[in-house]
Amino acid sequence: MTKPLARPKRKDPLKKTRLPLLPAGMRSRTAHGLTAAAAEGRFQLQVCADCAQVVYPPRDACPRCLSHRLPFRDADNRGTLLAETTIRTSTDVYFRERMPWRIGTVALDAGPSIVAHLHGDLREGERTRLQLKLDKSGQAIVMALPAEDTPDMHDDPQWRELTCDPKYRRVLITDGRTAVGQAMAEALSQAGAAIVFVGIADPWKPFPGEDRLRKIERVETVALDLTDTLSVNECAGEFAPKIDILINTAEHVRAGGIIERKGLTVTREELEIRYFGLTRLAQAFGPVLRARGADGVNSAAAFVNLLSVYALANWPAYGAFSAAEAACLSAAQSLRAELRPGGVKVLNVFFGPLETEWYQTVQPPKVAPSALARATVSALQQGLEDVFVGDVAEDIRARLAVNAKALERELGS
């Protein structure tokens, strides 16, 4: 049984912070099919398009019929743990400081044998389900879990190395004035975060939901204005070393395309809050997060971007807004590469129109802020990199994968 995680003690300020190390991150190009699946929490393996053989490790020719058509497809993740070993001596520094480390050989029901990391509650001879995860290097690995959930299984040390579980972690939510920010604070508190800092610009100005927000357990409001570099830097100066998960909830939703806008005022505001706000956060908090990627139970774990799914494909009805979101998405890709040396994940949460005042005229289905918050917590607990929340976001993603040009025409009509 997994030993429940103990609340980490206050850090001794004189103690050296352990520098982040990464497991070996080299992969063949083909193996990144696993990375793509792991990023979204799917279990996909190559399945031969000609003979249906399930293939692992990733190959460029089917070992049964030599076909080169080996697409990654959802696969049955069940199997049996044939043999396990506890590694006590490793040639790699990352694993050396995490010894002992268990791995095992799993015979997948679908065919191939897979060498996998083992969850602590799984024993030799037992049935198992496999999941693809991203390790600290950002690359896909296979983790073998017990066939059924076990108590406190998320606290398993090998599992927690792969996730960004908010339990006992310290969170910063950058904008608590919005319904999404408040829902996020509630969800993170419920998920066991040690403390949830919630940024409020101009704290003297009252806002709807304020009383409720302040009553949430372990929530503490802090002054933070993403449009003000000084404010962001001051907040980081005081709190950055205590932040393990940063969730940027800043939003600025205004309808309209590019041509109708008179001048740059609104567009500038959009960029000020979204793109420049993200840039200010990244510059102020990023270096500290990256340096604290291996800082014990409450190591820095994730930088979360809430992104409109129209960052992926512009919706001209909200055309200028979509463009600003696209800028944030592109920045997030850069952040991923920049934070990876610390083992800190960048989670992009894509969503469609929300049940908020700024999407008043948009037809349903819309996403409730609480659903967006729950999905974000779940994605952190699973260690995902990309998550799509709600029917519209899923739909856009699916249509984009089939025919990006068709989607462009459809969104523009």
Binding site: S28, I103, I114
Partner: protein, 396 residues
């Protein structure tokens, strides 16, 4: 495929012999390059045979650390002008494979004197660097899983074998302890201290159930031998061992979910038939001993006992050079050290010494027929390459 298609038949190795067995004494770490080790071994072979570089018209190289060079670069480096050249990147199977290719070249007249050489250096940290890039499958699907190297991979194979056949750590210990006994008499062995079964059992765990004395020690070194015709060897006054039969197989039994047998099991009937002997005629066996479980698999798959009876077999026999089943008579890699690809030559070179009456350490009494087995290249979850050779001394 037509069932009545003509089948090819193995030709015997008429008159092919192995001579001039050479070991360049191993070192734990070396500041020298692989080229240095290979060069020394080639020089010793040529010297032992009373030849000159100009006589050498065939060269076969096995090395993990000679990069960026391959065999061709070594011809210019060593000043050789062979008309037959081979590079055998097969690790623990490279000795047997180099021999069987060289034997056909000599038999058919493509070359007269083939020097087969394996050499590797071992610099601090070179082992780790090799592991992480050993194969594409290792890079994608093994090394990121704890980076335990072959210790972890063979731990899984060992664990499964123990569970499947009831073998115990004591059984593997018998193999390791007997090899240490042999090694104490072998001057080049890096392990100089006796090993008891209690010490074996009490050693620290490396990757359960693999413990310290189940593991080879990576080191630097080189091994080499000469392949030529028997009449040529006789004219030079060179003691030599005759090649009776060989087998080679790669990626055997891919459907086994975890490895419990090797390619030998597929080809064993042909192997003994070609040599005209049976397992009962074999006077000593040099198995490839990267881990004792693999020795046990070879003992089974090469027909010395039934599948799964390896543990019983090692309990019932003494495995020292003077025992009922002389095995890895120089101490094997477990006690001599694993000098990279030279580990795939060590048993073969030792066999030729035993069969030509020139052992450097413990002698197998009345050794007439020896079996050498090779195994190697765990690119994902199992060793892919396997091979074996039967050799006969002057009296057989």
């Amino acid at each position: 495929m037509a069932a009545d298609r003509p089948r090819s038949e193995r030709m015997p190795y008429d008159g092919v012999v192995v001579a001039a067995p050479v070991t360049i004494p191993y070192r734990r770490y070396s500041t020298n390059t692989a080229h240095w080790w290979v060069g020394r071994a080639v020089r010793e072979v040529i010297g032992a045979a009373g030849l000159t570089s100009a006589d050498i018209d065939g060269l076969s190289l096995a090395s993990f650390t000679v990069g960026p060079d391959t065999a061709i670069g070594l011809t210019q480096h060593l000043g050789l002008s062979p008309r037959w050249l081979d590079h055998v990147p097969l690790g623990g199977a490279s000795g047997v494979v180099a021999l069987r290719r060289a034997a056909r070249a000599v038999q058919c007249g493509d070359a007269e004197f083939v020097v087969c050489v394996a050499g590797d250096t071992n610099q601090v940290d070179s082992f780790r660097r090799m592991l992480s890039t050993f194969s594409r499958f290792a890079q994608d699907a093994v090394y990121p899983y704890g980076s335990g190297g072959p210790n972890a991979s063979f731990a899984l194979i060992t664990r499964n074998y123990m569970k499947r056949y009831g073998a115990t750590r004591e059984d593997f210990g018998r193999i390791c302890v007997a090899q240490r006994d042999n090694a104490l008499k072998f001057p080049h062995a890096l392990m100089k201290k006796p090993l008891t079964l209690d010490e074996y059992l009490g050693a620290r765990a490396i990757s359960d159930p693999i413990h310290l004395f189940d593991c080879v020690m990576p080191c630097a070194g080189a091994e080499a031998f000469l392949v030529c015709r028997d009449d040529v060897a006789r004219s030079l006054g060179l003691p030599a061992a005759r090649l009776l039969a060989t087998i080679e197989r790669h990626n055997a039994f891919p459907e086994d979910p975890i490895q419990y047998r090797g390619g030998w099991a597929l080809d064993i009937a042909e192997f003994y038939a070609m040599a005209g002997v049976t397992a009962a005629n074999v006077d000593f066996v040099q198995t490839y001993d990267d881990y004792p479980v693999i020795c046990m698999m070879q003992i089974e798959d090469l027909g010395f006992c039934g599948k799964g009876e390896g543990a019983q077999f090692v309990r019932a026999n003494t495995l020292t050079a003077d025992g009922s089943f002389p095995h890895n008579t120089s101490g094997g890699q477990l006690s001599v050290g694993q000098a990279g690809a030279a580990g795939g030559f060590l048993g073969l070179v030792e066999a030729v010494r035993q069969l030509t009456g020139a052992p450097l350490g413990a002698a197998v009494p009345d050794a007439a027929i020896g079996l050498v087995s090779g195994f190697g290249m765990i690119t994902y979850d199992r060793g892919l390459a396997s091979g074996a050779a039967l050799l006969a001394g002057g009296r057989a």
